[in-house]
Structure formats: C-alpha cells, structure tokens
C-alpha cells in the first residue's frame, strides 16, 4: 500500500524532543484529516548493529499485516557519543470518506555502545504509555536487553540465532523468568506441533501417545535448538523424564528419555540439504510397530505412515510456507498472545543438554 511519510530529523537530540516532535506531527496529521488515527497495538523496540540496520528494516517492512504500531529502532554505532534521530509517521496515501487510515510510527535512534547500559532512559520516553512493549535484539546486545526489561513485557528472540544451542536455550530460560518470551524458533515449529497433535487426536489413535518409543528429528544444521524445543515440547506434554543427550558424529545428538512404560530413543540429525532455518522432518515410532513421518514438501508437509505389516500411506498436508518475514510477523502477533506450553518445553529442552 502506498504511504505518505511525515518525517522529522534531528542531530544530537534528546528523547524528550523526539517525543514532542512525534506528538506535534500526529496532532497535525489528525487536524489535516480526521480519518487518520494512530494505531495503538504494540511498541517494538529493536536494538540492531548500525551496519545491518538496513537488513532489519527490510525484514520489518515485509512482516505483512502484523506491524507494531510504534517501532523504535536503536541503531548501534560503537563509537557514537550523541543521539541522532529520524521519526517517521507513515499514513496510507488514500483514505476514502468514512474510512480510517492507520498511522504507524517508526523512530530510528542512532546511539553508541556507551548508551546501551542505560538504554531504558532513552527508550522510555519514546514508547506509547499503556501499550505492551516488546524488545528484539537480533544482533546480541544482551546488555541493552537487560536494561530494557523493566519497561518491556515481552522479549522477542530466535534461539537458532545463537551458534551454541545450550547458550541460546539458557538465555531464553533466563529471560523467561523476567518477561514473556516469544521465540521464533518455537514459532517455526508450530505447523509440526499442530500436525502431531492432529495425528494423535482421534480417540482410537490417542492411546499410542503412551507407546511412543522413538523420535528422530531432522533439522537445519544451525537449528539444533529448534529440534531440542520440539522434543522438549513432547516431553513436557507427555510427562517424559529427561536425560541429557550425547553428541555423536556429524553433529547428531542422541540418547534416551523415559516415558512411563518404556524408553524413548531420541535422535536429532542435522540435514545439510535443508536450506531454511528450522525443522526438515521428523519420524515418530511406537511400540506397536507404527511409524509416522512428516517432511517438508511442495504445497505442505509430506506425511508417511507405515505399520508393522509393512503397509504404507503417503499424503500431503496442505499449507504454505510463511517464509522468514512471515515468521517475524507471527512473532510480533504472538507478542500479544500467551502460550503456556513454551516455558515447560524450554525447561525440558534445557534438560536435554549437558
């Protein structure tokens, strides 16, 4: 949709001046056309490295309909000692009579590493009061995130961003104790979780959840954390006792967890053919000799069923890939919802690591 941007810029400025400029611009836009009203859903505070800020801006532009209403981008330039700011209010170029045009505000604050420890003092005047605030720091900057925890209720992260899955999951666990965590690695697994839930939903199949004796998860080589979260989810939902997995060849993690009546073999395999982050496939076997497999395929997930007698069935479960931009949009949407199953899954996933 074409937009008209109202832009305010200042060098060596202060948060109070940025806030005042935003208020004045919003009032003026509304006076010019009462059909323009500011969206008031969510504050998103992004802490990014200056050299990658363009890439982040592109990702945010492509989130589709799930735009936060006010986005505050803290663009970190290590040597900077003063604050520069650009505040933009984007309005749809056409608003027909009787309709409303939603205004979305973006504030880019260029700051230095020295500002990160007390970044809350800069961001606090810029967030819309009474709205939920979500923090996202895709390039690390843990210090900045910590300083913003008091004014934010949600932390958006991606556990597969961190090269070491153990560190990623520990960090997510620590943050979970202070805020609601929306983990993009978890959201990528939603279709897989939905399909597993559907597979075992019929009354006749549900008892087989008690007899699962093996699970293999194939994943992008850098998405071990995503695979651990999926096993953690099954473990937390099914009451499995967790033991740490062992590292095998080629980045494989394997071991056993304990269900009530039997052990469950767990194997997490990196799949070099998988080009996008997240899961590539999974296979669940039960004591009755049945196996259920799901793998990425064109037009959805390719399902395969096999029983002890060797009878097989294959079909496709419809669904389009959301793409990375779609996942980020979903993360922003999830910031306003609450999923009580992530925390227990995360705890179990941490338990799978030594």
């Amino acid at each position: 949709m074409a937009t008209i941007d109202t832009v305010w810029r200042a060098r060596d400025t202060k948060p109070g001046d940025i806030d005042a400029a935003l208020r004045a611009s919003l009032a003026q836009i509304h006076r010019d056309n009462a059909g323009y009203v500011p969206a008031r859903v969510l504050n998103l505070v992004c802490v990014v490295d200056k050299q990658y800020s363009g890439e982040i801006a592109n990702r945010l532009r492509r989130v589709g309909r799930y735009h936060p209403s006010r986005t505050i981008v803290c663009s970190v330039d290590p040597k900077r000692t003063t604050l520069d700011a650009v505040a933009t209010i984007a309005a749809p170029s056409e608003v027909r009579e009787g309709e409303i045009g939603l205004l979305r505000e973006t504030v880019v604050v260029e700051c230095g590493t020295q500002h990160l420890k007390n970044l809350d003092r800069i961001v606090d005047p810029l967030v819309v009061t009474d709205l939920l605030t979500c923090v996202w720091a895709p390039h690390g900057h843990g210090e900045a995130v910590d300083s913003l925890l008091d004014l934010s209720q949600i932390v958006l992260l991606d556990s597969v961003d961190e090269p070491d899955p153990a560190e990623a999951l520990h960090r997510a666990r620590d943050l979970s104790e202070q805020a609601y965590v929306v983990d993009l690695a978890w959201l990528r697994s939603t279709p897989w979780r939905e399909r597993l839930a559907a597979t075992f939903d019929p009354d006749t199949v549900r008892p087989e959840l008690n007899t699962i004796d093996g699970i293999t998860i194939r994943h992008h080589p850098e998405s071990t954390a995503a695979a651990l979260l999926l096993v953690g989810w099954l473990a937390s939902r099914l009451g499995w006792r967790i033991d740490p997995l062992f590292a095998g060849r080629g980045g494989v993690l394997e071991g056993k967890v304990r269900a009530r009546r039997q052990d469950v073999k767990v194997r997490l395999e990196p799949d070099a053919k998988q080009h996008v982050r997240g899961l590539a496939g999974l296979t669940i076997s039960t004591a009755s000799g049945r196996t259920y497999s799901l793998d990425r395929g064109p037009g959805g997930l390719r399902a395969h069923f096999e029983n002890r007698r060797g009878e097989t069935r294959d079909w496709t479960i419809l669904g389009a890939s959301r793409g990375e931009a779609g996942i980020l949009g979903e993360g922003i949407r999830q910031a306003l919802l609450r999923d009580g199953t992530y925390g227990p899954a995360l705890a179990c996933a941490n338990g799978l690591l030594r």
Binding site: L196, A197, D201, R206, G239, G299, G319
Partner: protein, 518 residues
C-alpha cells in the same frame, strides 16, 4: 553429572483430552471430505472455494482433506478442478500459492447431475468410500448445500435414501445455506423434512453474518466488560436502534430480491441475530447450545406482531429514482427484471418489544434498506436522560442522553457520546464522542466469515449456526408482517434513492424520538 528433569505439566495421554493440543491456536480437525452441492454456482465460486483455499494456505484444513463438487453441468474432474482454480485465483483474499493449489486441486472430484437423480448419490457414495479407503480410515463427511432453496429438501432426502446421512466411525454433517424458508410454514416444513433424515446436532444452518468477527465482538463487548452490564436494562436504556443500511441498489439481483424483499433478506435473520446479541442474558458457558438457548429465549420474549398491529409497528417502502454519491440511479420499479407493479419492499423498519424482566417497555427499532444515504451497520443504544439538570442549556447544543454506538461497518468500533463543558467562562455543555476503533488496536485482519464457518462445521462447533427452534422463532416474529404485507395491495410508499429513507418510518418512533442519521 547428568541430571534428570521430570516434566511436570504432562498429562497421562489416552485418558481424556489430547495433551498435545494445549497452547495451539488451531485445534485439530478430523480428516474430512467436503461435498458442495451447487459447486459451480456463484456462492461456491466467490466465497466457498476461495475460503477453502485460504484455509489450505494457512494449514488450517484437516490433515486429510478432499472436496467433491456436484452440480448439473457435465464436466470431468479435471475440468471442475480447473474451474475451481480460476475461481480461487479470481476471488481469494490472498494470491494463490501454486504448490498449495496444485495439491488442493489434486484431491478434488466432481459428480454431475440433477439433485433428484439417484446416480448423483451413487457417484458420491463411491467417491466418498474411495477416499476413506485411500486414507485407511472413515473420514468425516460434510455436505454443503449451496443451491437454490427449493433443492434443500430434495438433496437432504436423497442423502437419506442413499444412506449417506450416517457413516460408521465418523461424523456426517449437513450445512444449509440461507434462506431457511420464506415463511414460518415453509421453515417448519423444511425443518420437519430435514430432521426426518438428519439429527439436529448434524445440522449447520448458515447465517454468514454470525461468522463475522464484528458480530462475535458484540458478545465480547457485553460479557467481558463489567462497565456496561449494570446499565444494560430497562432502568437505564431508553431505546435501541439497529440499522443495516446500504448505499447500493439491487443491481443485478432482481430475480432473487423481488421474491425476498428487505424483511426476508436482512431482518428475519441478520438483524434479529443482532437483536439477540444485544438483548440475551449471559450464557453460563460459551458453548453452542447455551448461547442458542439464550437467543431463543429472547426471540420468544418478543411480542409477536398480529394482523391488527402490523401497521403500527412496521413500515415498508421502495426506493424511487435519485442520486447516490453524485450518480443518478433508477427507482426500484424501473430496475431490470423488476415487475412495474412490484410490491416488494426495499426498505423495512419495525418496532419490537421484548416482554421480559430486563427489557419490558424498551422499544427495539430495526431498519434496513437499499439505496440509502450511506452504507452502515450499527446498533445505537440510547440511555435515559439524567433525572435533573443543574446546567442551563442556553447558548449551547445542550445536554443529550448518552448514546452508545456499536458499529459493525464500515469502521468497526464503539463510540460513547458524553456531555462535556465547552471551554469558556460559562457552564455550557455539548455532546462529544469517546471513540474506540478496532482497526487501531488489532493487527490481525478478520478472516472471511465463510472460512470460520466452514472450519467450525468441519470441527463440529455449531455456536455460530442457527438452530431449528431459533429459525422458527425468528419466523414467528416476521411471518405476520410478511403475511399482512403480501395481502395488502400497493403501491408502496417511495423514498428518494440516496436519502435517509421514507418519512413514514418516523411514525414508528415513540416519545418524540428521531432516527439516528444514517
């Protein structure tokens, strides 16, 4: 040292609820084959097939899903799939993903024939059994009747004759489009015939208005906010106005519209549903039958019009030539396909009273019409004036009773009018509005009503569908008006297109009240 963590939240599976569904936004839907009767018709092309595609795109369809289309036109499975693809590409709310579409089309089949032919149902039976066999399990079956209403009983009875109304090991459901009868007698007869084949719990009578987020929000507004409930009764509310105005003419729909008219088209179903949502008591649980029980109680409490009272409580009219948005439009009687002596109303307004403890004495005004000044659907609740006014009215618009406006379209929202002091040295009051617009506070786009309703029917959730006693209770209110109007010769009062409607509607209002401007 290795540590052991025991998951605490897990339930013991196999003994009740599915432990894997907690936390998921989309609940599992049992594998299903959907049969659409009237699959090449306008509704299927514009709404149903695009809705099904969008559900597929989002991964919301059951993990095994097949679609069988049926209608009179002779064509192969492939030709039907091609037609479906074209409809999806043209009318889907999002661009079609070729790969998803390809898989969806691969599971489509077609059966040609008239709806009274046995061969249609034999063919359906074979295809349905074939899909079951392929899946290795009995799939649920949903029959969607998207045909002209005269075929509803024919199809239902043929499904029964061929044993397709029941299927061991799975659920069979029938979705029936509106209109469900055009009179009380027809509705009762249709219910009798349908219920002789299917049980009520298998039936899903569509009123797509109920699938709109905006209508569902009405319940959230009333029952999730403590602010309004204390004044939601006859002690504080003076009147309720429900308006569904359109700024369009009947266009090319003369064939349907001239047989239906405004009362049947909107009042009997959609507007009475809105009335129920405003007037119903809070259900104990948000469950299909509890909600529908409360709605039926409201409908049964409405004082039924009689031949003697219709003229006092109902007004009808037709639009005459005029201008809408600067463009000249023809009058209803000059529209193509409309008989020049037609007595069909394009505007209907009625005054109803709900004779129960909460609402006794509060008039509910319902009005709808074509070719009015503006497109708007809203509920205006006017509170009683304050009992004593200490301020002088002089030099200002003055104090007006508070009005709560729930707008469904064009901009879904809630507005409350309040009296506020005009800045200055004198105590002068004028009304101001406190407004809330849903669009400013939610990022999500509402799904199409049909997406929600098709999914609910496949899932077996009847909350947003109309029950047999509900339909009949709606007709008990509208039927006396329909009968009286049909027995009364025209010509009907006229209103200029593009205006607020006929002056005759003012006579319905009590105690000097005026209609809210459209």
């Amino acid at each position: 040292m290795a540590t052991t963590t025991e998951a605490k939240l897990g339930q013991t599976p196999g003994q009740g609820a599915n432990p894997l569904v907690e936390g998921l936004e989309r609940l599992p839907v049992h594998p299903t084959t959907l049969v659409i009767f009237g699959a090449t018709g306008d509704l299927a092309r514009r709404k149903l097939l695009p809705a099904i595609y969008n559900l597929a795109h989002e991964g919301a369809l059951p993990e095994r899903f097949n679609l069988i289309g049926s209608s009179r036109s002779e064509m192969s499975h492939e030709e039907f799939a091609e037609q479906a693809a074209e409809a999806i590409r043209q009318f889907s709310r999002r661009p079609a993903d070729d790969q998803v579409l390809k898989v969806l089309l691969a599971n489509m089949r077609y059966v040609a024939g008239t709806f009274d032919e046995d061969s249609v149902y034999d063919g359906l039976g074979e295809l349905l059994d074939g899909f079951d066999q392929e899946a290795g399990q009995p799939l649920n079956r949903v029959f969607y009747l998207s045909t002209a209403p005269e075929f509803f009983p024919v199809i239902i009875e043929q499904l029964g004759n061929h044993g397709l109304n029941d299927h061991e090991g799975s659920d069979v459901r029938a979705v029936i489009e509106k209109p469900f009868g055009t009179t009380l007698e027809e509705a009762r007869e249709l219910n009798r015939r349908v219920l002789s084949v299917f049980a009520e719990k298998q039936l899903y009578r569509i009123d797509h208005y109920l699938g709109k987020e905006t209508v569902q929000n009405l319940m959230a507004f009333r029952f999730a906010n403590g602010l309004f409930e204390p004044v939601w009764n006859r002690n504080y509310i003076d009147r309720v106005e429900i308006t569904a105005a359109e700024d369009l003419t009947i266009g090319t729909r003369a064939g349907y519209y001239d047989r239906a008219g405004a009362l049947r088209d909107l009042v009997q179903n959609h507007m009475l549903q809105l009335l129920c949502n405003v007037a119903m008591e809070p259900p104990v649980h948000f469950e299909a039958d509890e909600i529908r029980d409360e709605k039926v109680k409201v409908l049964r409490s409405v004082l039924k019009p009689t031949a003697e009272t219709v003229d006092q409580i109902a007004v009808r009219a037709q639009y005459a030539a005029g201008t809408i948005g600067g463009e000249a439009v023809r009058g209803y009687l000059q529209e193509d396909g409309v008989p020049s002596d037609s007595n069909t109303e394009t505007y209907a307004a009625i005054r109803l009273e709900i004779d129960n403890w909460r609402w006794a004495g509060v008039p509910f005004y319902l009005r709808t019409g074509k070719s009015l000044a503006r497109k708007v659907t809203e509920i205006a609740i006017t509170l009683k004036p304050v009992p004593h006014l200490a301020f002088q009215q002089e030099g200002s618009v003055g104090v007006r009773p508070n009005q709560l406006i729930l707008t469904m379209q064009p901009n879904e929202g809630v507005s409350l009018s309040l009296g506020a002091k005009i800045p200055g040295t004198r105590m002068r009051i004028r009304p101001v509005n406190m407004e809330f617009l849903y669009g400013t506070s939610f990022m999500s786009q509402s799904p199409e009503a049909y997406e929600r309703l098709i999914l609910d029917a496949m899932r077996g959730d009847a909350t947003l569908f109309t029950r047999n006693d509900e339909v009949e209770a709606q007709w008990e209110i509208c039927d006396p008006i329909v009968q009286k109007w049909e027995a009364t010769p025209g010509p009907l009062p006229q209103y200029e297109a593009g205006t607020q409607g006929p002056a005759e509607a003012d006579k319905l209002l009590e105690h000097g009240a005026r209609w809210r401007a459209i």
